[in-house]
């Protein structure tokens, strides 16, 4: 079971939770289950979201596998200049 830490305004979309537990083997599976459980997350998915797995930030590559003991953070998608 993954321990997924939420940051910023993502927490309010998950009822204020700082950490949620989800069974997922890839980012794609993680995203699908989060939206299924917390429909309010959809607005954040529309504006963009990123996943940090063991400190490495993924924005678009949802095929990445996540080991069960990974450190997982859900972050807002970041723009650049």
């Amino acid at each position: 079971m993954l321990q997924v830490s939420l940051t910023g305004s993502l927490r309010s979309a998950a009822g204020g939770a700082e950490v949620i537990e989800i069974e997922a083997g890839t980012i794609r599976e993680l995203m699908a289950k989060i939206v299924e459980r917390y429909p309010a997350m959809n607005q954040h998915f529309d504006s963009g979201i990123a996943v940090a797995i063991n400190g490495e930030i993924y924005r678009d590559n949802w095929d990445v596998e996540i080991a069960a003991d990974s450190e997982v953070f859900l972050l807002p998608r970041i723009p650049g200049g």
Binding site: T7, S12, I57, Y58, F73, I78, G81
Partner: protein, 753 residues
């Protein structure tokens, strides 16, 4: 095909050298074609009418007289840009920013546009458009916009990030909190606590080339757009959606770009140019004046920031808190959130919290500016770091080294860091001769650190080998800072051929798959990664062709130093085949030789920098002269060191202007008072010293060459480095950017009673 992107400690022959840039001759001889440098048969001139009010209801727009003027071919308003966004509020905001829909939300907001046979006629037509406004209360200050009685700018904004969600709209778009630990317990454990508030004013990226485009929409629904942009694929997507065009039928070509720095990642007037062309059935060129660039494109946020740091006498930070209020302009953004995310990223702090507020005001929509939002947060935090260091009698550099983040540190914005470069940049700063140089009267030294995320994204390249053995690398990331040179080096390195044998071109949107914008310091990182894999794919083809030419199994052919070599029993005596020799035989060995790659280049690797700055302050006038400046930054791997240094220097130069002079000044009427380079002063050569640089190379583990982005981080520390230097020189703490002569003089006079 998925490739292994891991760092491999490859030994380089051409990567790391400093050849001339391939686009250099065009640029110094005036041949380079920028946004305004193309024409089309039958082309019309476009002009935009803009609101003279900060906030107003548009009661009526009468275009009849303008339409009747001889030579006018089209007049448009928001009625010609219907809402096709199907409930996507973000896209509707973009559309509304391009052309006001019932309300003007800031001084300079577009309300109508014309296309005419020449500039004089277009200008005359604008004067014939009659707009009836009902002025509304306005607010341009970020703190005032948060007050309960402030005029509400967008009635659909109900603050996100607070529980419960408010039932009434306000200008507070979102509250974003980051951090870990228990800050109250941390402050209770501190020997020293410093609290300080800071303000920074709004600045513009100040790119030399104004926005410009040539739009041509055909009656069959196909269209072309030539435009100065940081990302023509993104512009294509936005314009197609807003205009109801098919993506495949809109070809967007990026011109050479005269600077962008984040400001050319958004569409501002390109959909208007397309709408004019569609209505006039003629090509339309639209070029912004400098005044329009200031009033109606995307400057950075003005901010108001509170910082609190608690530390032990030995220099250990026990707790840190930042509350950051950033204005987004008239449309929701995430700039305050970014300020909160970046604020404490340089440090390893057990109890840390940052709270970012995104706030609407009646100003232009804020856009990214090089490491967006990080410089303003760094100004408050790095200034306070110096105050704390002084209070506990530590050198600022030692205080920072003691608290620097490192591999394994829990970043203040969430995850745990891998290998990072803040510690090495600080060590290099401490040992740099600049840090030990003597200062004279009225001079002061300051330093500061900075952080930026960097990112990669969707990328696609083609590599084609001509029959003469020269190589065309086709990429879709706009070259804003020398990336074509870097990409030529990468292709040459992989293929084992000279740099001069490779030419990199930027393809239009019809010629290559989607590429994300050149933003987030991603151009060389991501297109470089794709170029490596495309070249390796081409090498596989070259091996196959050599095997065919020798009539031996491909397994017996290796690629070394730009040549195919036969190995194994019975093949060892075959003379090597060069790339040129294989290419010459391509027509009869299977046809064109090419490599291709598409990649989602994630894991760009975070970036850190430390800057040192010496200034001299004239105590009688408050004028500041930067007399020495040093940038030390981790590049992961510098592919072309000249352009890495150029990025370091450019960021520092822009930061110096931001710190000392640049400022949007609004009148009581909410109108911008200084939309021009005479009154909005960016630094010129005579304002700047030679900006010294030191490149550190701590490899990014997620790029084959170890590359990290380098384009943005260098603008993060200057505000604070200069703030600390000026404060040391003048003997008073500066807390308001820009530190213009009147502000410094007032601070000195206030301190002297």
């Amino acid at each position: 095909m998925q490739h292994d992107t891991s760092y491999t400690d490859q030994k380089f022959k051409v990567v790391g050298t400093r050849p001339n840039r391939p686009d250099g001759v065009d640029k110094v001889t005036g041949r380079a074609r920028y946004g305004a440098d193309v024409t089309a048969p039958g082309q019309l001139v476009g002009r935009i009418l803009r609101s003279p009010h900060a906030h107003a209801r548009i009661k009526k727009i009468d275009t009849s007289r303008a339409e009747k003027l001889s030579g006018v071919k089209a007049v448009i308003t928001s009625a010609d840009l219907p809402d096709l966004t199907e409930g996507n509020r973000g896209m509707l905001d973009i559309l509304e920013n391009c052309m006001a829909r019932g309300r003007a939300l800031y001084d300079g907001h577009a309300v109508a546009a014309v296309a005419a046979i020449d500039a004089q006629t277009a200008k005359k037509a604008l004067k014939l458009i009659k707009v009836s406004y009902e002025k509304l209360p306005h607010v341009t200050d970020v703190d005032k916009a948060m007050e309960a009685d402030a005029p509400v700018i967008q009635d659909y904004v109900f603050t996100r990030g607070v529980e419960p969600t408010p039932k009434t709209p306000s200008n507070i778009v979102a509250v974003s909190e980051f951090g870990h630990g228990d800050v109250e317990a941390g402050f209770a454990a501190a020997d020293v606590i410093v609290e300080k508030s800071f303000k920074t004013e709004q600045t513009h990226q100040g790119y030399i080339e104004p926005h410009a485009c040539l739009a041509s929409v055909n009656s069959d629904g196909s269209a072309e757009l030539w435009v100065t942009t940081q990302g023509h694929f993104g512009f294509r997507s936005n314009c197609a959606e807003l205009l109801g065009l098919d993506i495949a039928k809109l070809k967007v070509t990026s011109s050479e770009i005269g600077g962008g720095f984040g400001g050319k990642t958004h569409v501002w007037m390109e959909p208007v140019a397309l709408a004019l062309s569609r209505k006039a059935n003629r090509p339309v060129k639209l070029v912004m004046s400098r005044e329009e660039v200031f009033r109606a494109t995307g400057p950075t946020s003005s901010t108001s920031v509170d910082v609190k740091i608690g530390a032990k006498k030995d220099g250990t930070i026990t707790a840190a808190l930042a509350v950051l209020r950033y204005q987004d302009g008239a449309f929701p953004g995430i700039w305050g959130m970014l300020g909160a995310m970046t604020s404490w990223a340089c440090y390893d702090i057990p109890n840390v919290k940052s709270v970012g507020y995104d706030v609407l005001v009646n100003r232009p929509k804020v856009a990214a500016y090089r490491a967006p939002s990080a410089p303003m947060a760094a100004f408050g935090i790095e200034s306070t770091m110096d105050i704390v260091a002084k209070k506990i009698r530590m050198k600022p550099i030692d205080f920072r080294i003691k608290n620097a983040a490192k591999e394994g540190t829990l970043a203040s914005y969430g995850p745990t860091y891998g290998p990072i470069g803040i510690g090495p940049t600080l060590d290099a700063a401490k040992n740099h001769p600049h840090m030990k140089a003597r200062l004279r009267k009225n001079q002061g030294r300051g330093m500061a650190c900075g952080f930026w995320f960097n990112f990669g994204g969707q990328t696609c390249v083609d590599l084609n080998i001509g029959v003469d053995g020269t190589v065309t690398l086709t990429v879709g990331t706009v070259d804003v800072g020398g990336s074509r040179a870097a990409l030529c080096l990468i292709a040459a390195e992989e293929l084992g051929i000279p740099y001069e044998q490779v030419k990199t071109n930027i393809a239009d949107t019809a010629s290559l798959g989607h590429n994300d914008m050149t933003e987030g310091s991603r151009g060389t990182f991501s297109s470089g990664m794709a170029a490596i894999f495309a070249a390796r794919e081409a090498i596989e083809v070259l091996r196959q062709r050599a095997a065919k030419m020798w009539d031996i199994p491909v397994e017996a052919v290796v690629w070394e130093e730009g040549q195919a070599k036969a190995t194994g029993k019975g093949h060892g005596n075959l003379p090597p085949l060069s790339l040129k020799e294989i290419a010459a035989r391509a027509p009869t060995t299977g046809g064109p030789i090419a490599g291709h790659n598409e990649v989602v280049a994630d894991n760009a690797g975070v970036s850190f920098a430390s800057h040192i700055c010496d200034v001299e302050v004239d105590p009688e006038t408050g004028a500041t002269k930067v007399i020495r400046y040093t940038v030390i930054q981790d590049a992961g791997k510098a592919i072309h060191p000249d352009y890495v240094e150029g990025q370091f220097q450019g960021g520092a130069a822009q930061g110096i202007g931001w710190a000392l002079n640049e400022e949007y000044i609004y009148g009581d009427d909410g109108c911008l008072q200084n939309p021009g380079f005479l009154d909005y002063r960016i630094p010129v050569c005579s304002d700047l010293p030679f900006i010294d640089t030191q490149i550190l190379e701590i490899p990014n583990p997620n790029h084959p060459y170890g590359v990290r982005g380098v384009g943005e981080t260098s603008i993060v520390p200057p505000l604070a480095a200069i703030g600390n230097a000026v404060s040391n020189a003048a003997g008073v703490r500066m807390d308001h950017v820009p530190m213009s002569p009147p502000r410094i003089l007032k601070a000195i006079e206030d301190a002297n009673g």
